[in-house]
C-alpha cells in the first residue's frame, strides 16, 4: 500500500469539503473494496476520507411505504433488522447472502451501490425495487443511476447518503453464487407492485439491468411457469472460466423462476 493522508470527518459537509479539489482523494465506507485495491497497489491515493464517524449516514428507517437505509449501514444490520424483514423480507435476505460474516459487518450499502460492481447483489435490489439513491446533492431514480461497468450517475464530490426502497407487494432475490468469490454469477431480483413487475439481473452482464421479456411475461401471470420458455438473449453476457454466456443466460431464467416461486 502507498502512503496516504487519513481523515475522519464527522459530517457529510466536512467530508465533501475534504474531497473538494483533490483529484486523488476517495471516501471510504467499510473499506471492503477500497482497502484491497490499495493493498494491491491498483490505486494510489493522496487522501482517504473515512465516513465511519458520520452518524447521519447510519441507520434504518421505515416510514410509511418506504424503507430508508443510511449509506454507512453495514449489510449485517440490514440482514438482521426486524423492520426490514417485515417490510421487504427479500432485501434482508439479500443482505444476509452477501460475502461472509466479516464482509457483512464491514461492507455497506453505500459502498456497494457506489461501487456498482457488475456481480454485486444490492444493485439488483435497488433497480428491481425502483429505489431512490439519495445523495448530498439530489435524489436519483434507480433507472438512471447505474450507467455501466463500475459506473454510476454520481458526480464529483457527490456522496450517497441513503437508499430509499419502496415497499412492494411481493419480492424475492435468487443468487447463483460464484463458488470461489461468492459474488453473483447470476442474481435475479423480482418485485411485484400492483400490476407492475420489475426484474433486475446482476452478474450476467457488464452492469445490472432490467429484463424486459421476463417483466412482460410476469406482468401477465406472476408464476414460474409464465417464464419457463422465455428466451434470454445472452449475446452480450459475460463469459469467463466460471460460466459461459450461454450458461448465464440459462441461469437467468432458472433464477428468475425460483425468485418468482419464492416471492413473498
Amino acid at each position: 500500500m502507498h502512503d496516504f493522508r487519513y481523515h475522519r470527518p464527522s459530517s457529510v459537509d466536512e467530508a465533501v469539503k475534504l474531497l473538494a479539489g483533490k483529484s486523488d482523494a476517495r471516501v471510504m465506507a467499510g473499506g471492503m473494496t477500497l482497502i484491497p485495491t490499495l493493498k494491491q497497489r491498483l490505486a494510489k491515493l493522496t487522501d482517504v476520507i473515512d465516513l465511519a464517524a458520520i452518524k447521519e449516514l447510519k441507520g434504518i428507517k421505515v416510514e410509511g411505504k418506504a424503507v430508508t437505509i443510511g449509506a454507512m449501514t453495514p449489510h449485517h444490520e440490514v440482514a438482521s433488522s426486524i423492520a426490514v424483514k417485515k417490510a421487504i423480507p427479500a432485501l434482508a435476505a439479500l443482505a444476509a447472502g452477501i460475502g461472509d460474516p466479516h464482509v457483512r459487518h464491514r461492507g455497506t450499502i453505500g459502498g456497494a451501490v457506489a461501487n456498482n460492481d457488475p456481480t454485486a447483489d444490492y444493485t439488483a435490489a435497488v433497480l428491481a425495487l425502483n429505489a431512490t439513491v439519495k445523495t448530498n446533492k439530489r435524489s436519483i431514480a434507480a433507472d438512471s443511476f447505474f450507467k455501466g461497468l463500475f459506473e454510476t450517475a454520481l458526480g464529483e464530490g457527490e456522496l450517497i447518503t441513503a437508499v430509499s426502497f419502496p415497499v412492494v407487494d411481493k419480492a424475492a432475490y435468487m443468487k447463483f453464487a460464484n463458488p470461489a468469490s461468492r459474488y453473483a454469477i447470476v442474481g435475479v431480483f423480482v418485485a411485484k407492485s400492483g400490476a407492475s413487475v420489475r426484474t433486475a439481473v446482476t452478474g450476467a452482464a457488464s452492469c445490472v439491468f432490467r429484463c424486459a421479456p421476463i417483466e412482460t411475461a410476469l406482468a401477465k401471470s406472476f408464476a414460474p411457469e409464465a417464464i419457463a420458455s422465455v428466451m434470454i438473449d445472452g449475446k452480450d453476457f459475460n463469459s469467463d472460466i466460471h460460466a459461459s454466456a450461454e450458461y448465464r443466460a440459462h441461469l437467468v431464467r432458472v433464477m428468475a423462476q425460483r425468485a418468482v416461486a419464492a416471492a413473498a
Partner: protein, 787 residues
C-alpha cells in the same frame, strides 16, 4: 496411563498456543536490525532478459541493496537441484536444466524471480521494486500441456529438446500387450488430472540472518524439512557449509507438500543477508503464493483395462503426459514415476501392467508434490476405469472390485510394478463401507431423489497408497539423491522429564501429541512430562522431515528405536542399583523390577542415577540417559481402504451437493483416533476440492487466471457433509509400531469416489465421464448436451 497412551484420543498439546494465538510462525519472528525483501517477478511467461537496470531502485528511499541474476552468477551460486534423477526408457538420464535462484538469461513463467530489493521497510522494498527496469524480449510461450512437446512449440530450455524432460516406462510391455490380445473386453478412457494450487493457510516466508561474528547463517523458513533445506542450500546452491548454516522451521501453518521444496526466495534471502550485513525477511503476499508455490498434479492420461468375460482384470495400459512446469522442482520427477507408476496395481490382481509417462516443460509454475503426490493420480485413473469397465460389462461396481481384490491371505503380495505389499484386507474395508452407507438400499434413495427432481448418485473407490517413505537403498537404486530414514532422540533429564527430538516436522499433523503418547506408553512417563522438539537443525539430529505420510511410520519408529536403547541402558543401571543380574530385570509400565520380586526402580529414579552417578557402574557405563536412533524402513507402508459417497445434482443448474461420505481406512495401528479422523476429514475435503472446484487455469499467453480466491475455488465447510470415519486394521509387518500413515489418504481416495458418484448420477442420461473439477457449469453442460 491408558487415557494418554497409544489408542487414546488425547487432546492436542499444540492447541493451547494455536488457539490462543501464541504460535510462532516465521513471520512472527523478527531479528534485530532486520531488513525487508521484495522480489521482482516476471510478468511474462517466457521472455529473454536483455538487461536489468537497478539504478533508480537503488536510489529509492530506504533501499539497502538490489540484486539480480548477474549478482547470483558473479557469486557462483549453484542451481537449485532436482533431487531425483529418472532414467529414461532408452537408458539415458532425464533432461535436467538448471534453475538459478534469480533468473539471468530468461524468465520462464509468470512469477519467475528476476531481482530482489532489500530495504528498511516492506513498503520501501515494494516501492523500489516498481523502479527496477527489466528489458524483456517477450517470447512465445508454451503453455498447453497437450501441445508443448509437439514440433514448433517454443523451446523453454536448450537442455530439453521438444520440452521433454523424460520418457519413462514401468512394467512388462510385452506381457501387457499379450493380455490385451486375449481380452474379452477392453475399457478405455481419456482423463485429465487437473492442476491444483496447494494453498497452505500460512504463506511461505523466510528470514536469512548472517552472523558476521562467526560467519554463520541462520535461515528461519516455512519448511516441512529443515535439514533437507540445509543440505540443498549448502551442497547445491553452495551458500555455506552445512556446519555454518542452521535452518529453523518454527510453527508452520500447513504445507500439503508445497513446503518440502527449497525455493529460490529462501536461498536468495540467506545469501542476501550476508551481502547487506543485515537479517533479511521475506513474506509472500497471497498473490505470490499462487504464482510461486509449486503446483500439483496436471496430467493427461489415456488408460485401457483388459478384462476376461467374468470381469477379471487381465491387463492395464496407461499413457500419461505429466507437466513439470517451467523448471524441475526438487522432487518433480519422482511424482509421476515412482510415486505413480508403482501404484498402478491398486488393490487388484491385474496380471499385467504397463505404464509410460512423458514428462514435459511448460511456461507455468513448477509442478511437484501436493498431498498424495502421484498416488491420487494413480487411484483416480484405476478407480475410474474400473467403473467404466463395470458399466460397459453390466457388472455391479462393488462386485467387480470384489472379484479382483488381492485376497487377504495373499500377503506379502508382489505387484507387477515393483512394490511388495506387506499386509491388507481390502474386502473388509469395502464391505464395512457398503454397510455403513446402505449400498443395498441405494436405488430407493435414487428414486426418492428423482421424485424431488434431483439426480442422485453413489460412487466408491478402493484405493491403496505407498507411504512411510522410504527404504533408502531402494529409492537410491531408483534415482533418489538422498536417503529417507528418520532420526529420533529421546533425552531424559535428571528430574525425569523427557524431551524427544525428531527429524519429522509438524505443520498440522499433531506430532507433539501423538509422539508424546507413544513415549508415554512405552516408557511409562506421564504425558505431561514429555516435550517434543522439531524443526530446528541446531537442536535435532539430522532428519529428513515430513511428507509422504512418513512421520509416524518412519519418524515414530526412530523414536521407538531410541527408546529401546534407553530401556536397554536403564536395565543395566537398574541391575546395578538393584544388585541383580541384567537378565533378571524386566521393564514394564515405567518400572524396572527384578523378576519375581517386588524390588523395583522407577524410570525416573534410573534417570536421576544416570545424571547423578554416585552409585553407578561408571567403569562400564557412561552417565546420562540420552539416546539417538536412525531408522531406515524396510519397506513402504500401504494404507488402503474404501470411500463411498452419495451426491445429488440439481438438474437445472448442475450444482452437485455431496450428501454423505463414508471413509473406511486401514492405517494399521492407530495412536490417536481423533487426530486420525481429523487427517481423514481434511484429506477428503482436499480431494473434494480437486474433484469439485479447484483448478489452476492459465490463458494462452501463460497468465494465471486463477491467481486469487476470487477465481480459485477452495472447498468450504458448507460444501461437505459430516464425514463418517471408520477403520479396519491389518498391522504393518515391518515397523515396530505396526503403523501405516493417514495424512494423504483422503486426498487420494476422494476424487475418484466423488467423480464416480457424479457419473453414476448422470448415467441415466447417458453420461460416461466428466472431467475434474466437476463444476456446476461442466455438469450442466453434460446434462444439457445429453438431453
Amino acid at each position: 496411563m491408558a487415557d494418554t497412551g497409544i489408542g487414546a484420543s488425547v487432546r492436542r498439546k499444540e492447541d493451547q498456543r494455536f488457539i490462543t494465538g501464541r504460535g510462532h510462525y516465521t513471520d512472527d519472528l523478527n531479528r534485530p536490525g532486520q531488513a525487508y525483501a521484495f522480489f521482482v517477478r516476471s510478468p511474462h511467461a517466457h521472455a529473454r532478459i536483455k538487461s536489468v537496470n537497478t539504478a533508480a531502485a537503488a536510489r529509492s528511499p530506504g533501499v539497502i541493496g538490489v540484486f539480480t541474476g548477474q549478482d547470483v552468477a558473479a557469486d557462483k551460486l549453484g542451481s537449485i537441484p532436482c533431487g531425483w534423477g529418472v532414467t529414461q526408457k532408452d537408458g539415458k538420464p532425464m533432461n535436467a536444466p538448471p534453475h538459478m535462484p534469480l533468473a539471468a538469461d530468461k524468465a520462464r513463467y509468470v512469477g519467475d524471480q528476476v531481482a530482489l530489493v532489500v530495504a528498511e521497510t516492506y513498503n520501501q522494498a515494494r516501492d523500489a521494486a516498481e523502479k527496477v527496469v527489466v528489458d524483456y524480449e517477450v517470447l512465445p510461450a508454451s503453455v498447453d500441456l497437450a501441445a508443448t512437446a509437439k514440433k514448433g512449440a517454443p523451446v523453454i530450455h536448450d537442455q530439453a529438446p521438444n520440452n521433454v524432460c523424460f520418457v519413462w516406462g514401468l512394467g512388462d510391455e510385452a506381457a501387457t500387450k499379450a493380455a490385451f490380445a486375449k481380452a474379452h473386453h477392453v475399457a478405455k478412457l481419456n482423463l485429465v488430472n487437473n492442476r491444483v494450487i496447494p494453498n497452505a493457510i500460512e504463506p511461505r516466508a523466510a528470514i536469512g540472518d548472517f552472523d558476521t561474528g562467526d560467519d554463520s547463517y541462520t535461515l528461519y523458513v516455512t519448511s516441512q524439512n529443515p535439514h533437507l533445506a540445509r543440505l540443498v542450500i549448502s551442497a547445491f546452491v553452495q551458500i555455506a557449509p552445512e556446519s555454518k548454516l542452521r535452518v529453523v522451521a518454527p510453527d508452520v501453518g500447513g504445507g500439503f507438500g508445497s513446503k518440502i521444496f527449497i525455493y529460490a526466495e529462501e536461498c536468495v534471502v540467506t545469501w542476501a543477508s550476508r551481502k547487506v550485513g543485515r537479517p533479511v525477511k521475506w513474506t509472500a503476499e497471497r498473490f505470490e503464493s499462487f504464482l510461486s508455490d509449486a503446483h500439483g498434479r496436471d496430467h493427461l492420461t489415456h488408460v485401457e483395462l483388459a478384462l476376461d468375460k467374468d470381469g477379471k482384470f487381465l491387463g492395464l495400459r496407461v499413457d500419461t503426459t505429466a507437466n513439470m512446469g517451467a523448471y524441475l522442482s526438487n522432487f518433480a520427477s519422482a511424482i509421476p514415476t515412482y510415486l505413480y507408476g508403482t501404484l498402478l496395481q491398486g488393490v487388484y490382481t491385474t496380471a499385467a501392467i504397463y505404464c509410460e509417462v512423458t514428462s514435459v516443460f511448460t511456461n507455468t509454475v513448477p509442478v511437484d508434490a501436493v498431498r498424495g503426490a502421484g498416488r491420487p493420480e494413480a487411484t483416480y485413473l484405476i478407480e475410474r476405469i474400473v467403473d467404466v469397465a463395470a458399466s460397459d460389462m453390466g457388472i455391479d461396481r462393488a462386485e467387480i472390485r470384489r472379484r479382483n481384490f488381492i485376497a487377504a491371505i495373499a500377503f506379502p503380495y508382489q505387484t507387477q510394478v515393483a512394490l511388495q505389499y506387506d499386509s491388507g484386507n481390502y474386502g473388509a474395508s469395502l464391505e464395512k463401507a457398503l454397510t455403513m452407507i446402505d449400498y443395498a438400499g441405494f436405488e430407493k434413495r435414487r428414486k426418492e431423489a428423482a421424485g424431488r427432481g434431483k439426480l442422485r448418485g453413489i460412487g466408491l473407490a478402493s484405493y491403496i497408497e505407498a507411504c512411510g517413505i522410504a527404504p533408502s537403498q531402494v529409492v537410491g537404486s531408483l534415482g533418489a539423491g538422498v536417503g529417507l530414514y528418520e532420526a529420533g532422540q529421546v533425552r531424559f533429564d535428571a528430574t525425569g522429564n523427557v524431551t524427544v527430538f525428531t527429524g519429522s516436522h509438524t505443520h498440522g499433523q499433531s506430532h507433539e501429541t501423538t509422539f508424546a503418547q507413544i513415549v508415554s506408553d512405552y516408557l511409562g512417563v506421564p504425558f505431561e512430562k514429555i516435550e517434543v522438539v522439531h524443526g530446528d537443525s541446531g537442536r535435532i539430529p539430522f532428519g529428513m522431515g515430513t511428507y509422504g505420510s512418513r512421520s509416524l511410520a518412519v519418524g515414530g519408529s526412530a523414536i521407538v528405536r531410541a527408546m529401546d536403547k534407553v530401556i536397554a541402558k536403564g536395565r543395566r543401571i537398574a541391575a546395578h542399583l538393584l544388585e541383580a543380574s541384567e537378565a533378571d530385570i524386566e521393564f514394564k509400565a515405567g518400572k524396572f523390577s527384578v523378576k519375581g520380586t517386588d524390588r523395583a526402580k522407577t524410570i525416573g529414579e534410573i534417570a536421576f542415577a544416570a545424571y547423578v552417578p554416585h552409585n553407578y557402574p561408571l567403569s562400564e557405563l557412561e552417565p546420562g540417559l540420552d539416546e539417538t536412533a536412525f531408522y531406515d524402513p524396510a519397506n513402504f507402508t500401504f494404507p488402503a481402504g474404501t470411500h463411498v459417497c452419495e451426491v445429488e445434482i440439481d438438474r437445472d443448474t448442475g450444482v452437485v451437493a455431496v450428501e454423505r461420505w463414508v471413509a473406511v481406512d486401514d492405517f494399521g495401528r492407530i495412536i490417536n483416533p481423533m487426530v486420525v479422523a481429523g487427517q481423514v476429514q481434511g484429506g477428503v475435503a482436499h480431494g473434494v476440492g480437486q474433484a469439485l472446484c479447484e483448478a489452476a487455469v492459465y490463458d494462452k499467453s501463460g497468465q494465471l487466471l486463477t491467481g486469487s480466491y476470487m477465481d480459485y475455488c477452495m472447498p468450504r465447510a458448507g460444501d461437505l457433509p459430516s464425514i463418517e470415519v471408520d477403520t479396519t486394521v491389518t498391522l504393518c509387518t515391518h515397523n515396530p509400531l505396526g503403523v501405516k500413515g493417514c495424512g494423504e489418504t483422503g486426498a487420494i481416495a476422494a476424487p475418484a469416489t466423488l467423480i464416480n458418484a457424479i457419473v453414476d448420477a448422470l448415467a441415466p442420461l447417458g453420461v460416461k465421464h466428466i472431467e475434474m473439477p466437476a463444476t456446476s457449469q461442466r455438469v450442466w453442460q453434460a446434462i444439457h448436451s445429453a438431453s
